[in-house]
C-alpha cells in the first residue's frame, strides 16, 4: 500500500538447499499448547490453504479436528487432493497468535508449507535471498 512505513521485525535467509523463502512460525493446537519450538516453514504462494503439515506432525493437532465431511479438497495439477483439517494457532515473531487451520493429506505424507491463507495477513518482503517480516 503506497505511503505506508514499515519496520523490519526480522530477516530469514532462504533455505540453502532448496533456495526456498521461509518464515519462522510457532504453531499451537486449539488448546493453546505449543507444537515443538518455533520452526522455519517454506513459503508457498501456490498453496491457497493456511499451513500444511507432514502426517506425523499433524497428529498433535488432531484434538481439534473438523468433522470429516468438512475436510477441504485441493485442485492440483494431478487431480483433487483430500485433506484432513484441524483448528490451530499460528504466530510469527512480534505478531499476535492468529486462529488458523493446519492440514495434511488424507492419503500421502504431506509436507510443511505456509500458504496464502496465512501469508495474506502478513507484510513480507522478498529481498534477494531473504524474507523480511515487516510491521507497520
Amino acid at each position: 500500500m503506497a505511503g505506508r512505513l514499515f519496520g523490519t521485525v526480522n530477516c530469514y535467509p532462504h533455505d540453502r538447499v532448496a533456495c526456498q523463502p521461509r518464515l519462522k512460525i510457532q504453531l499451537s493446537n486449539f488448546a493453546e499448547e505449543r507444537w515443538q519450538d518455533a520452526t522455519f516453514a517454506p513459503i508457498d504462494t501456490g498453496f491457497s490453504g493456511a499451513v500444511m503439515l507432514p502426517n506425523e506432525s499433524y497428529e498433535f493437532f488432531m484434538v481439534g479436528e473438523q468433522p470429516r465431511r468438512l475436510w477441504k479438497e485441493y485442485r492440483t495439477m494431478t487431480g483433487l487432493l483430500q485433506m484432513r483439517v484441524a483448528r490451530a494457532f499460528v504466530q510469527t515473531e512480534g505478531g499476535h497468535m492468529l486462529e488458523t487451520v493446519v492440514e495434511t493429506p488424507l492419503f500421502g505424507t504431506g509436507k510443511l508449507l505456509l500458504g496464502r491463507a496465512v501469508l495474506n495477513s502478513l507484510s513480507l518482503l522478498l529481498d534477494r535471498g531473504r524474507v523480511r517480516l515487516k510491521s507497520s
Binding site: F30, G46, Q66
Partner: protein, 130 residues
C-alpha cells in the same frame, strides 16, 4: 511352528479365482498369500487406533448434525469418545475444556456449528516438486 490346515467357508468364487491367478503370477502359494494378507491386516489394525476414534466421533457428529445445529448454532462444539463434551462461545473456552480432559484423547472434533463449511482450495505446481 505348528502348521494347521484351515478351511474357509463361503468365499466368493470370483474372489478365489482372482486370488489364485494373482498368486500364480507372483509365484506364491495360496497359504503364502494368506499369511501375507493376515500380517498386513494385523499391522494396519495396530497402526489405526486414532482412526477408530476419528470414525466414532464422526459417526456421532453425522448422526446428530441437525440437532447440534438446532441447539448450538454459532457455538463451538467439542466431541470426543463418541459423545458431546460441551458447547462453547469461544475457542479459548473450548481449549480450556480440552486441557482438563483425562485421559487426554488423541482425536476430537471441534467445529463451529453452522459456520464451518467445506471449501475447495488450489495447490499449484511449485512445492509439489520438492
Amino acid at each position: 511352528m505348528n502348521k494347521l490346515t484351515l478351511v474357509i467357508k463361503k468365499i466368493d468364487q470370483r474372489t478365489l479365482r482372482d486370488l489364485k491367478a494373482e498368486a500364480a503370477r507372483r509365484g506364491l502359494t495360496l497359504s503364502e498369500v494368506f499369511r501375507e494378507a493376515v500380517n498386513l491386516w494385523l499391522t494396519r489394525r495396530q497402526d489405526t487406533p486414532a482412526l477408530t476414534e476419528t470414525d466414532k466421533n464422526n459417526e456421532f457428529y453425522e448422526s446428530n448434525e441437525a440437532e447440534l445445529e438446532r441447539q448450538y448454532k454459532g457455538r463451538y462444539v467439542l466431541i470426543t469418545g463418541g459423545r458431546l463434551v460441551g458447547a462453547y462461545d469461544n475457542l479459548h473456552a473450548a481449549g480450556e475444556a480440552m486441557r482438563t480432559l483425562s485421559p487426554r484423547p488423541r482425536q476430537a472434533i471441534l467445529t463451529k456449528v453452522g459456520k464451518d463449511t467445506r471449501e475447495l482450495g488450489e495447490w499449484l505446481g511449485g512445492s509439489l516438486e520438492r
